[in-house]
Assembly symmetry: D2
Homo-oligomer: 332 residues x 4
């Protein structure tokens, strides 16, 4: 058990990590399709996994709610978030909250509200909104001001619908659109400040931050600076040019150390949730390995002399920083 | 009719451009599925389209060959290339020619040979090989030397199987793997020189060149320089960080002018083939618009004083270059 | 003369564009050094140039103020902005407003205030602040929260120093630091909203927006959406991966058309200022060519049926967008 | 002492690492200028440094050769390479071997030959050629075929001038030009195969490989595959989008492990040379830290069960790869 800031760290992942994975070429998927039950079984084999994120749509809905609750209890999981599906069906192809079609905008808002009602039924107080289809591909394809107005107003409607459920907005710079509106930490913070509701915050996806050329520790710090806005975090890794959704530890080890440090420093107490796409790998193994990496990185950071870390940071000396990383990783 | 270097320009596209389009999130696709017949009908509505590229696998194979030939004739198309499908099924997920499994390597080579036999039956002398799954995602996941040996030997086997069919190798820096072996113009030229067979050349995809931070006109010139290796070209556009497969004209207008110029200069006489992914757009409209752009760009280049273009290039003066682009686009 | 929204368009550039240009390898520069007088002479040869941006530091200061005013009058220029030099001297190497050294922070703030006093003496109401050295290179090298606090508090001090001078903050994602704090439109808008003073706004550099994977038209629109925050604009072009500071028209023609359109749509009435680095080109020629491009692009946009542009934008149809671009460039 | 493949590892760096560092904004440099003697003194303080790379031009030339030899002996260094300066003076601004001006081309070739004569006088058998200015910035600015012909012919002239001196060609995708001809591993291998001389090979700069989206271990393997072409290596690190020339260990730890492994596997026996730009850091400290990282990484790789590494690589299983990295770094 790992304790940080007096609270136990809890690991979580997205249920579909254990299912099949597709891309635009391999449409039938690289692996076998799995039923919800099979994915729960796969999840149950991960060491130390306590939370599951569910996609609100075909995966969980009013119809199968009691069945899902049953599975959740049987396997002893908590539901860490409900990701409202505003992206996997053709109806959303030109946007949800920012569609030029009013009917679609309303449908999207209603879907979010429905899942704000469903989440507590699953013992979960967080819905995750990722506006994957809200953006544009071509120049002269969007009235940006109208679109941003739609974003602000719709989020406001959702946030005020019920204050006991938190809304986490997950930013991403592109994909599936070539340009997404809610692209990076800065735009998201600006948006949230305009919405102005306490129950709206940010879901930081490490890979999305890397794709936006962010230092993810700084992004965590800015969530704090602009008002304790970090609601949830998605861990993964990539080569910076695309959201490769790889296993933790694949590429960015020093940056991960710094991120882990700042999560403690800003008193983040939410889930440590894993969001990867193991296209060609077995899901259970992949999540297990992510948790092994996270445990190790947390141990390396937390067992290091915290005042020395502070001294190095406050010195602003690059060489001291890299020496610190080396000593954290390998000892003095 | 546009004539360059004494030959009529012929436009082509990939048949599946007219079908449904998927991505990793929207697995059922943004549009409706279409039968082969429906795609041929859609293609027949494009102004000035003469060639069709087919995917060799489920789309065309020994079983339906006569039916495809019938469709081809009915609609008056030629087959500009057969793209051998070494990417859309899970069996290839860790490579075809470079799989660590010998059975899979042999299966891949045999598939290529089969399509080298099928192509002439369709009046086509070019098979397109895109090694989408041959690469790696993680460090320590590939014995690079073994893999490159497999590439050289397998390509050699295919090239010598029959010399009357040309093999075009299409490079791409990544996707679906995070690293593809046959990544860019330089690696492909090195590979081909090692294979050392005349009937192997390059298929230049404009978007792939842009993703590899190539100037595509230089890539065309290098195909010439290293031995008349440009066999075929795929036109599209993107924002450079990813293979967005957008409509021609979307982003890179000056670079397209230069590319069009160099295609003439190196005496390229192959197809002008369009390879786009209109996820959210109607296929016929999208290809029509691409051809309108290509016609216009060719007209602008070919109607310009060719000796002035040469003078500007030979001056090496950047300002003259940009003045040239402006005058090509808008007149003097 | 070009009139937009009832006001004449005025072109400007940075004086040092006409001087020598260096990079980290060619430290003595690619061209000859020029005196201030020689640069004014070079500027005076540009067709239609009315404004000059000066670097506040060695280029203009309390000592040579009357001489500069003389030159300005002799050549008939206005001063469009004073760029306060917080970047070209070793003292700023680890930041100005965010230095860990209080003395340096104060020195920086005082320098800004000094130039807020100098600007009006030159008939100029805008100082440009580009925090080039405020950022970090390594992990664990910055206390992000402290740094952002410094930014907010220092900007507040400057803004309230005198309200009749506008402060424009120019964002850039990196260079010279590998990470700059004020990195993109979103972070800058968040920062300004925290500062909360009317006389602080944004200087949008087109190349900086491109490097941050922004669509610059959207960035202009967001300045409007978050409170009429676009104070000034710097035009140039690049290949997206680095701030190449190239001549306008080099790469991004369709995106430039959309930018030009949105400047009108949001009623931008400031300078159209050129910020390029003609390392290997003659300055006067380079700026002349930029103005020729800008004039042409404005003409193409403004002479097009504005209601058709609106219709296309409101349709959200990518194909219509690209048809619009084609027709804007080449006619119907 | 570290022994690999029966030979002692020898560390080297570029002398100017200990001097002042500039960028295009801070033209007078972030640090103090140092004389050659002072730089040798600084180098002598690095633990375990045995080799020095010198810039052939103002730093070392026929005039000061005996003085340099004296310094070298006094401090007990070997000269690991001579970098022929074809980049730091305005004369090369539009290319050296590919200049459109024949006089400049000849001057460049002669300079290389001069340093092929000087190198042995310093006990060094390697000249490093980095064609920094040979490329283009704008479209229509280069006749690519002529330029590549110049490259091939000039390199041939140099290589055949004397066979006892090795020529190392260092590729880089851009900077200072926006496009460099000798851009990546593939183009360089193609070029060398056309030149066809044994004494021409490749200098792999890790940061340049990263900027070209290469996996540097694969690049090392390809040098082997295409004929034992790895002559020398430059170590540093960056964030992939630009040649940041940072301290080793800053970013890419797992990729460095794999690189270190492959250097052994391909029997690389050359120098382990450090090429960083410590703009804001003290040179001796920075190089010391690089060597500490290299030693540690070599130790981690070489002390690991080599047959297990082979097994993991040959499995092609991503999860096993990441487990391997974790166990290499932190033990089982």
């Amino acid at each position: 058990m790992i304790v940080r800031n007096g609270k136990k760290i809890r690991f979580s992942t997205i249920l579909s990590t254990f299912g099949n994975r597709y891309d635009r070429y391999c449409v039938s998927g690289y692996k076998k399709n799995k039923s919800i039950e099979e994915m729960f079984v796969a999840a149950s084999k991960v060491q130390g996994l306590e939370g599951i994120e569910l996609v609100g749509g075909r995966q969980v809905n009013e119809e199968n709610l009691s069945h899902i609750n049953q599975l959740k209890s049987n396997f002893g999981f908590e539901i860490s978030s409900i990701i409202v599906d505003l992206f996997s069906e053709a109806v959303w192809k030109k946007g949800s909250f920012t569609s030029v079609d009013e009917t679609i905008r309303k449908e999207a808002i209603n879907k979010v509200k429905r899942y704000m009602d469903i989440a507590p039924e699953l013992g979960c107080d967080l819905v995750c909104l990722w506006f994957a289809q809200d953006g544009f591909d071509y120049v002269f394809q969007s009235d940006y001001i109208k679109s941003w107005n739609f974003l602000v107003n719709s989020l406001k409607q959702c946030a005020t619908y019920r204050h006991d459920v938190k809304i986490g907005v997950e930013y991403k710079i592109k994909e599936p659109r070539t340009y997404n509106f809610i692209a990076n930490i800065g735009k998201t913070l600006s948006l949230l400040s305009k919405v102005g509701e306490d129950n709206i915050g940010i879901i930081l996806d490490v890979g999305h931050a890397l794709c936006a050329y962010e230092n993810m520790a700084e992004s965590v710090a800015l969530c704090k600076f602009f008002g304790d806005k970090l609601f949830h975090i998605h861990f993964n890794d990539n080569y910076r040019h695309w959201d490769d959704d790889m296993i933790i530890g694949s590429v960015h080890v020093p940056e991960y150390l710094e991120l882990i440090y700042w999560l403690k420093k800003v008193n983040y107490n939410g889930w440590y949730s894993i969001d990867i796409y193991p296209y060609r790998e077995e899901g259970t193994d992949a999540v297990n390995e992510c948790i092994r990496w996270l445990r190790k990185l947390i141990e390396l950071v937390d067992n290091f002399d915290q005042s020395e870390i502070e001294r190095v940071i406050n010195s602003g000396e690059g060489i001291k920083s890299i020496m610190l990383v080396r000593e954290m990783l390998f000892g003095k």
